[in-house]
């Protein structure tokens, strides 16, 4: 049995008894079979023998339970790692960074507290999944759409505060967040925005309240446990159109991005557009040695199978005429910039029948899709999601630079997925393959991804969200003024979490007591 760092077995046994006193015997998990469910078997660290193993998992049912668990953690200085639904696969799954951490599993806090059709919002607890909310809206017959990531069994709160990506009109998930309730490391409960006004009815209607806007501190956070969150919903539009544009050549990505940028910024394309190469693609069982091209766009040797060129996925929402006009305008812009584009599109009108929609259309309409769930095990690889300038020429430079770098490792980079959920921003993925069991293979891949991070830092490509095994490396790119931002974050961390119990090391931010010796 793994125990938290710095504790003796008998101290940990006492702490477990106290956890049981808080949440009940049934909701403290310590036996190996249970602990296994709180581990990411697709972790690249597994084959390296460096994956952190939890000492226990604890699952409170309510805010008082969360406070009680934090009290015990403070008393014994036990590091905890928070999961809402624990499906953060490809970014680390339910894994913690520090060996022997206790996993705080919030799945039992799964109440949908309010759905307001008129004001188009919901108030949810962490255990509520995209699917849970969607099915409840259908059950109540409300004319509201949700938005969210492709794995629909994952948490609305976790995905939103991790600054995840959906593919509909509210795809920039944190932008759709309005109001939070947070249990701070010290156990105090805070409500943000209008929730801080005791008698307000506007917690989910206006984000900012008065004074500094603190919600951002609780995104990608190690400062508190988010126990309630407001999320804006989208009134069902009279019509919507799901569309794809295909361009035939590898180099066509340059004009493709230059066409997309103004359309995206001006909201002619209102959904979080995404693009990817036509090559390669997922294979059952992952992307390990000898497998297909990983989602990160890296392949061994020559080009992977499939046609060259790129495709992008778009969505349009509103009145039929608006939807059609904006799509026609988009086609005109593409056709005048790129030869031999292909356009594929389907228009749907209310009332919608999800069973008649293609999976691209479902994603663009925020309808939970389960098509990608079996790909949860991405083959124990690594990926970096870098923010690069939203310009065709600049992206091409990125692609060539990463490809030239990858050749040193006997691999080629053909361009990973591109996300445009934040309309002025372009996020480019580059990944390296991994193995579940082959240590040498993973050592080599790790060397490549660590060096890729150095390359990214030199070129000014910071990451939007970092996988667990590369969090400190990713934060190292944020180095302006001798890493002033990191030091600022460390000061906040020390002030709000004096015993350094919550998610130590998340995004490279370590509490004072663990800072020595961390890069």
């Amino acid at each position: 049995m793994t125990i938290p760092p710095g504790l003796s077995q008998s101290q940990f046994d006492d702490a477990l008894d106290e956890f049981r006193g808080v949440v009940g015997n049934d909701w403290v998990f310590t036996i190996e079979e249970h602990i296994e469910m709180y581990r990411d078997t697709s972790s690249p660290l597994a084959a390296l023998g460096e994956q952190a193993i939890p000492s226990a998992a604890v699952a409170p049912e309510n805010v008082e339970g969360v406070q009680g668990v934090l009290r015990v953690c403070n008393d014994y200085r036990i590091p905890i790692w928070i999961i809402s639904t624990g499906k953060n696969y490809s970014y680390g799954g339910p894994d913690a960074i520090v060996n022997g951490s206790v996993i705080l599993d919030l799945k039992r806090m799964n109440r949908i507290l309010e759905i307001n059709e008129e004001q188009a919002y919901a108030l949810v607890e962490p255990g509520v999944s995209q699917y849970d909310l969607w099915i409840e809206i259908q059950r109540r017959g409300m004319k509201l759409w949700i938005d969210g990531p492709s794995p629909a069994y994952s948490s609305i709160i976790a995905n939103t505060i991790e600054r995840g990506v959906g593919y509909g009109p509210l795809g920039e998930r944190l932008n759709a967040q309005c109001g939070m309730e947070v249990v701070l490391a010290t156990g105090e409960v805070v409500r943000t925005g209008m929730g801080a006004v005791a008698n307000s009815e506007t917690w989910q209607q206006y984000k900012y309240g008065l004074g500094p806007y603190v919600d951002g501190l609780f995104s990608q956070t190690s400062l508190g446990v988010v126990t309630k969150m407001g999320i804006w919903l989208y009134p069902e539009p009279p019509a919507f159109r799901s569309a794809e544009v295909y361009v035939p050549n590898h180099e066509d990505i340059v004009p493709m991005l230059d066409v997309l940028r103004p359309l995206r910024i001006s909201n002619v394309i209102p959904n979080s557009a995404s693009a990817s190469t036509n090559r390669g693609g997922p294979v059952e069982g992952g992307f390990g040695p000898g497998g297909g091209m990983p989602p990160g766009g890296m392949a061994p040797g020559g080009p992977p199978p499939g046609p060259p060129g790129w495709r992008c996925r778009l969505g349009y929402y509103g009145y039929e005429r608006v939807v059609d006009t904006n799509w026609e305008q988009t086609q005109d812009e593409f056709a005048s910039a790129i030869d031999n584009c292909q356009f594929v599109s389907e228009r749907y009108t209310a009332p919608y029948n999800p069973d008649e929609m293609l999976s691209e259309a479902k994603l663009a309409a925020g309808i939970p899709s389960f098509q990608e769930i079996p790909l949860w095990n991405h083959g124990n690889g690594w990926a970096a999601s870098m923010i690069v300038p939203f310009s065709g020429r600049k992206y091409w430079e990125f692609l060539e630079t990463v490809d030239a770098f990858s050749r040193q490792f006997g691999r080629r980079y053909f361009g990973g997925p591109l996300h445009m959920h934040s309309p002025h921003g372009l996020i480019a993925l580059a990944g390296v393959p991994g193995s579940a069991t082959d240590r040498d293979f993973n050592e080599r891949s790790r060397e490549q991804i660590v060096q890729l991070h150095q390359l990214a830092r030199e070129n000014g490509w910071g990451e939007y969200r970092a996988p667990l095994s590369m969090m400190s490396e990713a934060m190292a790119a944020y180095d302006w003024n001798d890493a002033a931002l990191l030091r600022f974050n460390e000061r906040i961390k020390d002030a709000l979490d004096p015993n350094g119990i919550i998610a130590p090391g998340k995004n490279g931010i370590w509490p004072a007591r663990m800072r020595e010796g961390q890069a």
Binding site: W27, E36, Y38, E284, S359, Q371, N377
Partner: protein, 114 residues
């Protein structure tokens, strides 16, 4: 090995639950849980990842839709639900309780040959 220790760890629960509920009630409860927690990936219709994967794997030798299978054993269902497999993440006790899992097992094995 892991699967075996699973079974020994939970044998007691199986007995308690089955004794408390009649088999028909258990199957009905299992259907409810299945519809809420499994069907979205394993049901019939398009874009169900679980069904698509099983169709690909078994090429029609057995139905892709889980609820139509007649050869799933309780041990196998339990192992696939609670441990990581290439196509499916482990489903934790906080997602589907032990009692609900027993009910799902009763539902998915209801048409098995005795």
């Amino acid at each position: 090995m892991r699967i075996l220790s699973w079974l020994s760890g939970f044998a007691a629960v199986v007995v308690v639950v089955s004794a408390a509920l009649g088999q028909d009630d258990l199957v009905a409860q299992g259907r409810e849980v299945y519809l809420a927690r499994c069907e979205y990936c394993h049901g019939s219709g398009p874009q169900k990842g679980g069904t698509m994967t099983l169709q690909l794997r078994y090429q029609g030798a057995v139905p892709g839709v889980l609820a139509e299978r007649t050869n799933l054993t309780p041990e196998y269902i339990r192992a696939v639900v609670r441990t990581a497999t290439p196509g499916m993440t482990p489903i934790r006790i906080t997602e589907v309780s032990e009692q609900d899992l027993e009910a799902v097992i009763a539902y998915l094995t209801r048409h098995n040959e005795p």
